[in-house]
Amino acid sequence: MRLSRDYGPEAVAKMGGCTVMVAVRRGLLRPKVVIGLHCLPGLDALRVTDGGLLVGAGVTLRSLERSTEVASALPVLWRTVRTVASPLVRNMATLVGNVTSALPDSDLVPLLAVLGATLTVRGPEGERSLPVGEVSQAPYRHALAPGELATAIAIPAPPPGLRLAYARFTLREAFDRPLAAAAVALRLADGVCHEARVALVGAGPLPARSGAAEAALQGQPLTPEALARASEAAMESAAPPSDYRASADYRRHLVGVVLRRALGEALAS
């Protein structure tokens, strides 16, 4: 923490190093100091706590993939982890690292967001936690202050009967970031939606909750028309980035498709 604070922007901390070391190799980041965190004790904990999950900063995606507890407690998260990047990257990358990398198209952030996950951060002033959705300030810029280190992600136990689903669209069948993705968490009673959480990739510069989609679902009987309306609401309120990978219009279209698919999966689950 002291190194991080003292060197400020000239220092960068790494655990698995997948984001940081690539940036260094490509000459995009030239830190004076690289702080290796993997020797720090106590960050390797992966604990299922009453159906929720506590994931220490040192826990790799590989560990999550191979954990039967994660597979049974949070099968959607487990399945999604297996599609992130490549097996080689997953063997080194960490869940906490994925979140603090502030990726514009992280597969894990939207899912963690609709689960209500929080990031535990320790700094010179003490410990705090912030919702996963608030960790990214801008693409590739996180909200941690100099001297602060992320130590864990806490995923609260999903309430009983929560329907969770994640759908993504990539150009390549493996090792690709989603052009659009939707994570949904629904609580239903008698076919009526009591609570809806929707987080999207591709509707803006960062993965984010879609208030418009959530409003379109909340309190509604979830008929096919309601799902279509939610999809349209998400598309209309989207301000997707446009780049060489896809135009804004196409991303907008895909947001609608993946949300419809995720909602369909959630209802079927």
Partner: protein, 162 residues
């Protein structure tokens, strides 16, 4: 002990051997293995962790040596393709299968793929074709279309089960 240039002498354990190398803190494992430990089988194909040519096993787990600082590998067991088998008779079944099935063309991706495949078979003795493709998804090959690579891995798995 660090010299004024920042160079340090460290010991790495590579393919069962202890080797002393001289590194500066920012030197990557891939370069140290290639230049100081003679492991030319560890290749460099990109600088964005995207091709898998630099794959080594770290305590048995396939990782990208282009992302590891040499110093971070101290105290770990590093296995390169040289640790798979000894030519000409002591080859690993995977190596034999690759030869038999003509699964090698330019050979640049081969060492990395062999290591990933070995780790796969140690965890899963009967992978399906889908599982093999999934395990290899981080290793790019431009020559073979992966066709014979997948075939060779499946055959090696079958051979090993016998």
């Amino acid at each position: 002990m660090t010299s004024p240039s920042g160079r340090q002498l460290i010991t790495l354990r590579v393919d069962g051997e202890e080797v002393e190398v001289t590194v500066r803190p920012h030197h990557f494992l891939v370069d140290v293995l290639r230049q100081q430990v003679g492991r030319i089988g560890v290749k460099e194909g990109c600088e964005s962790a995207s091709c898998g040519a630099c794959t080594v096993l770290l305590d048995g787990v396939p990782v990208l040596s282009c992302l590891l600082l040499a110093m971070d590998a101290v105290g770990r067991e590093i296995t390169t393709v040289a640790g798979l088998g000894r030519p000409p008779d002591g080859l690993h079944p995977l190596q034999e299968a690759f030869i038999k099935h003509h699964a090698v063309q330019c050979g640049f991706c081969t060492p990395g793929i062999l290591l990933v495949a070995r780790a796969l078979l140690e965890e899963n003795a009967s992978p399906t074709e889908e599982e093999v493709r999934q395990a290899l998804a981080g290793n790019l090959c431009r020559c073979t279309g992966y066709v014979r690579i997948v075939r060779a891995v499946l055959e090696a798995a079958a051979l090993q089960r016998r």
